[in-house]
């Protein structure tokens, strides 16, 4: 109790200290700074080279895209482009830029910058991570300027969600980066050692100070294009401070100490310690992440222990039995303290538009698991050990990333679940790099618990997971041709839905994909954690979303309520 009281006092003191008063003449919402934490220091401000999430968080605050996906509605909305139209065959998009756009250094943004931007991202030599998004049907998109405010984008074939591919594509200033690009040194621009003033973007903020390893301070971009409903220029905040806080426990403590204004994605356990009225805690509900258990079905070398075990994994009844024996409710309760959704398919409750609601949600049943195993020819020894037809004891290993404690906990629960049907499971937590190596490169594992957090609600974002030729088709990736008829069926459905433009038709096709996955269970879906966010109660417009960045997606509209500002 007393600790709580201390905290309140401290928060108040912190608020009084940190908030700068609103500048004279500004609206009541204007002013102040927001302090948030990041797991690691941003590594670069160069959109072409950034791959890590902390850097992306900064990047998305200092840059803008042409068309943006609203993080709450999942719908596309105009950003730098005021409007866009598609040609009748769906292969050409005409985008109209807003008039009077300026970069954060005051320089005007024109169609030339847009053309330059796409030239850079599509340059094979630069290997920008965005490039893959801009390649449709194996061919890079074409971008040409019509006039200063009009751009035409052409695609090799019709693409159902072409408007979505512009999300997150930061428009680059040709007047700043053009020379470096021509000289072939673009990748070395805009590092953490670059003078902040020369890092130029179109987002709500611009870089003001970089303290290596400690923090990045962003300040309001006075040339930002967006205005609120009353015509007032956004953002409201003067500054956004991103502190490097490598440990989530430390982030919690610093949030409680009042040094941070927002705690994004606390664990359920941490979230629970923040509830109780002192903070604005928001449980957004399930996100888009789906955690699953997957067996390695890639052809193992004959005679190896892996190949012998794959004889079990390859049987659908075996996989169904595993699915029936796993206690998803226990995962939800014990791993996520109830703040998660049990899953039987990859589409979570957050994505109602695409979810196939007719997929059954059978509760855990050890009896059903036993029946399925018996059906598949397995037997039990007197001591309860499960044996296959040849009399071999059934046991397998699950790998899991050591940096994801929640997945290790799932593994521990599953280990205990499967012991009930006589299967001995061993768990190998592996360092992340070693984990990725076994999973994607060497394919040297038996089973794996992993999760994929879709970047977008549209099924196309995960197409590499479902296509049998995809590199993330985790049970059997990069197949030359689909190994099973149902995988062939999924391939066809996924390919077709990509070019069909009627949403209803796409939905029907993707429903069928989900039904096939539920029937054959190549992945045993487990649970999807809720998105949890907490902030100081005086932060206005705080509306956490299901897509990243969960708390800062609308940072341009966040403000401090007047009451807190003295």
């Amino acid at each position: 109790m007393r600790i709580g009281a201390f905290c309140v006092l401290l928060c108040l003191a912190g608020l009084a200290e940190q908030r700068t008063p609103a500048p004279a003449g500004g609206s009541a919402r204007r002013g102040g700074q927001l302090v948030v934490a990041e797991r690691s220091a941003p590594r670069s401000f160069n959109p072409v080279v950034i791959t890590d999430n902390p850097s992306k968080t900064v990047l998305e605050r200092i840059n803008a895209d042409l068309i943006h996906i609203n993080r709450r509605t999942f719908k596309t909305e105009p950003a730098l482009a005021a409007s866009w139209t598609a040609s009748r065959d769906g292969r050409e998009y005409t985008l109209k830029l807003r008039p009077g756009l300026k970069f954060s250094d005051g320089h005007a943004l024109t169609a030339d910058d847009v053309v330059f931007t796409f030239q850079v991202y599509l340059d094979e030599k630069l290997a920008a991570p965005q490039r893959d998004l801009l390649v449709v049907a194996g061919k890079p998109i074409g971008v040409r300027k019509v006039d200063d405010l009009t751009i035409v984008v052409s695609l090799a074939e019709a693409y159902a969600v072409a408007d979505r591919m512009f999300d997150g594509i930061a428009i680059l200033p040709r007047h700043v980066l053009g020379a470096a690009y021509a000289a072939g040194t673009l990748a070395q621009q805009w590092t953490v050692a670059t003078a902040p003033a020369s890092i130029v973007g179109t987002g709500p903020f611009r870089v003001s100070e970089v303290v290596p390893g400690e923090r990045v301070v962003l300040e309001r971009n006075p040339h930002y294009w967006k205005r609120d409903g009353h015509g007032e220029a956004l953002p409201y905040l003067d500054r956004l401070v991103l502190l490097t806080v490598p440990s989530t426990d430390a982030e919690l403590l610093r949030f409680k100490a009042g040094e941070l204004d927002v705690m994004s994605r606390p664990t359920a356990e941490q979230f629970e310690s923040l509830t109780g009225g002192q903070y604005n805690t928001v449980d957004v509900g399930p996100g888009l992440e789906y955690n699953f258990l997957v067996f390695n079905l890639s052809d193992g070398a004959a005679g190896t222990p892996l190949a012998r075990r794959q004889a079990w994994f390859g049987q659908e009844d075996f996989r169904r039995a595993m699915s029936a024996a796993i206690d998803r409710q226990a995962i939800v309760k014990l791993v996520y303290r109830g703040r998660a959704e049990p899953l039987w398919g990859p589409i979570t409750g957050a994505n109602a538009a695409w979810r196939n609601t007719s997929i059954p949600h059978p509760p855990r049943s050890v009896d059903r698991a036993r029946q399925l195993l018996r059906q598949a020819g397995f037997t039990w020894r007197d001591d309860g050990t499960l044996l296959d037809r040849a009399g071999t004891q059934v046991e397998f290993n699950i790998i899991v990333s050591a940096s994801r404690p929640e997945r290790q906990q799932m593994a521990t629960l599953i280990q205990s679940d499967l012991a009930e049907i006589g299967i001995r499971v061993t768990i190998s937590p592996l360092e992340f790099g070693a984990f990725v190596d076994r999973l994607t490169r060497k394919r040297d594992f038996e089973a794996c618990i992993h999760g994929i957090g879709s970047g977008d609600a549209d099924p196309n974002s995960d197409v590499n997971v479902w296509l049998s030729s995809g590199n993330l088709h985790l049970w059997n990736p990069n197949a030359a041709k689909p190994p099973t008829p149902w995988e062939a069926q999924i391939d066809t459905l996924m390919r077709n839905q990509m070019s069909v433009r009627a949403t209803g038709e796409r939905k029907r096709m993707f429903n069928e994909v989900q039904a096939l996955l539920a029937e054959h269970e190549p992945m045993i879906f487990l649970a999807s954690p809720h998105i949890l966010v907490a902030a100081k109660p005086t932060l206005g417009n705080f509306q956490p979303a299901v897509l990243p960045h969960y708390a800062l997606w609308n940072v341009d509209e966040l403000y401090w309520r007047a009451a807190s500002r003295d």
Binding site: I3, D249, L252, L253, E269, Q270, E272, S273, D327, A330, K333, L334, R337, W380, D382, D383, G384, T385, N397, I399, A402, S403, Q408, Q409, A411, T412, L413, Q415, S416, A419, E420, G422, T426, I427, S428, P429, L430, E431, G433, A434, D437, R438, D444, F445, E446
Partner: protein, 349 residues
């Protein structure tokens, strides 16, 4: 025992210490019997249960010689908070026999004490899976202490041999060994651990995993005590009595064992206690690289990793049991090391 305490008090203290040591190790060795539960058994309906209270007075105020426990009930809507419901009670019995899961069947097991089913006696509470912390603490002690002591033994053996050679022989041997020590201390172990894990089979059975940890820790840990031994030996070599022994024609091994080793024991015993503690804790780091003791085998390292969270400090304090265990072990070993240390005077000419 010359000042401050009388010889009799000292003898009593020494006896008490020995008794404590013996008791500690008997309890640890007999862990499966002393522990009331299988350390891997998950009581999924009571995660994070606080230590079960032992009652001696019932609701009408009557005293019982035999302690009893009350049922615990989860408070709905809370984050694993429980209240006692003393309408249902069960006596705690000593020397019980009961059926419990064994492998995939059941077997008859004997335990030192246990509450009558269906009620539970979690002496030190439960962890996030509802596993009995007391049972895990005892069985984890076997695993962790055995590993740490073995690893400390390996490390100290290497340290004494290399340190003695470097310190006594000097010259090229010293340069070579010192360079080797610095190499061991300088290598990026974070990295080598990942490489080491990759070189091992994926599913490492617990005994092999433990042997691996012992070897790894042993090779990681010898360098520092090795430097200390080297310095001590080098210093002792220059002392008058060693000089005298040398001029008297004593052989090198004899000088080392009779005259220099006693000096080294002081450094080694202290380093030993330090290493045992370090190695128990080091397992928490090793587990980040997939080199820890695999679940569901309990170890103090994995228990510590779970306890090192803010919530354990403020609410689920019983998860800190392995820290208390570590403190007790360190104090006992330290006291033991002091008592058992040979008085250097007796070994000197």
């Amino acid at each position: 025992m010359r000042r401050g305490t009388s010889p009799k008090a000292a003898r009593v203290a020494r006896g008490a210490l020995l008794a404590a040591t013996v008791l500690l190790h008997v309890v640890i060795l007999a862990a499966p019997w002393v522990a009331p539960y299988d350390p891997a058994a998950q009581h999924r309906d009571v995660p994070f249960a606080p230590p079960t209270r032992l009652h001696f007075v019932d609701r009408v105020g009557r005293w019982h010689a035999q302690p009893f426990v009350c049922a615990i009930v989860h408070v709905p809507g809370t984050f694993f908070r429980y209240v006692e419901d003393c309408a249902t009670t069960a006596p705690v019995r000593a020397f019980v026999r009961r059926q419990e899961p064994f492998g995939f069947t059941t077997r008859e097991a004997r335990h030192l004490f246990s509450a009558d089913p269906p009620l539970d006696l979690f002496l030190f509470g439960t962890d996030e899976f509802g596993r009995d912390v007391f049972s895990r603490l005892l069985l984890g002690a076997r695993v962790s202490l055995a590993m740490a002591i073995a690893a400390a033994g390996v490390a100290l053996a290497i340290a004494v041999v290399t340190g003695a050679i470097a310190g006594y022989a000097g010259g090229f041997a010293d340069t070579a060994i010192s360079a080797g020590t610095e190499l061991v201390l300088g290598l990026p172990w974070l990295y080598l651990l990942i490489a080491a894990r990759a070189a091992m089979p994926l599913a490492l059975p617990p005994p092999q995993a433990m042997a691996m940890i012992v070897i790894l820790l042993g090779f990681l840990g010898w360098a520092r005590p090795g430097r200390l031994v080297r310095a001590t030996v080098a210093a002792a070599r220059g002392r008058e009595y060693v000089m005298a022994a040398r001029t008297a024609g004593a052989s090198t091994p004899r000088i080392l064992i009779r005259h220099i080793l006693p000096d080294v024991t002081a450094v080694v015993t202290v380093a030993g206690v330090v290493l045992v503690r370090q190695f128990v804790v080091a397992e928490t780091t090793l587990s980040l690289f997939g080199l820890g003791v695999p679940e569901p085998v309990p170890s103090w390292g994995t228990m510590l990793a779970a306890a090192q969270r803010p919530r354990a400090l403020t609410e689920t304090w019983w998860l800190l049991a392995p820290v208390v265990g570590l403190i007790v072990v360190c104090m006992v070993y330290y006291a033991l090391a002091r008592v058992l240390r040979p008085d250097p005077l007796h070994n000197r000419p």
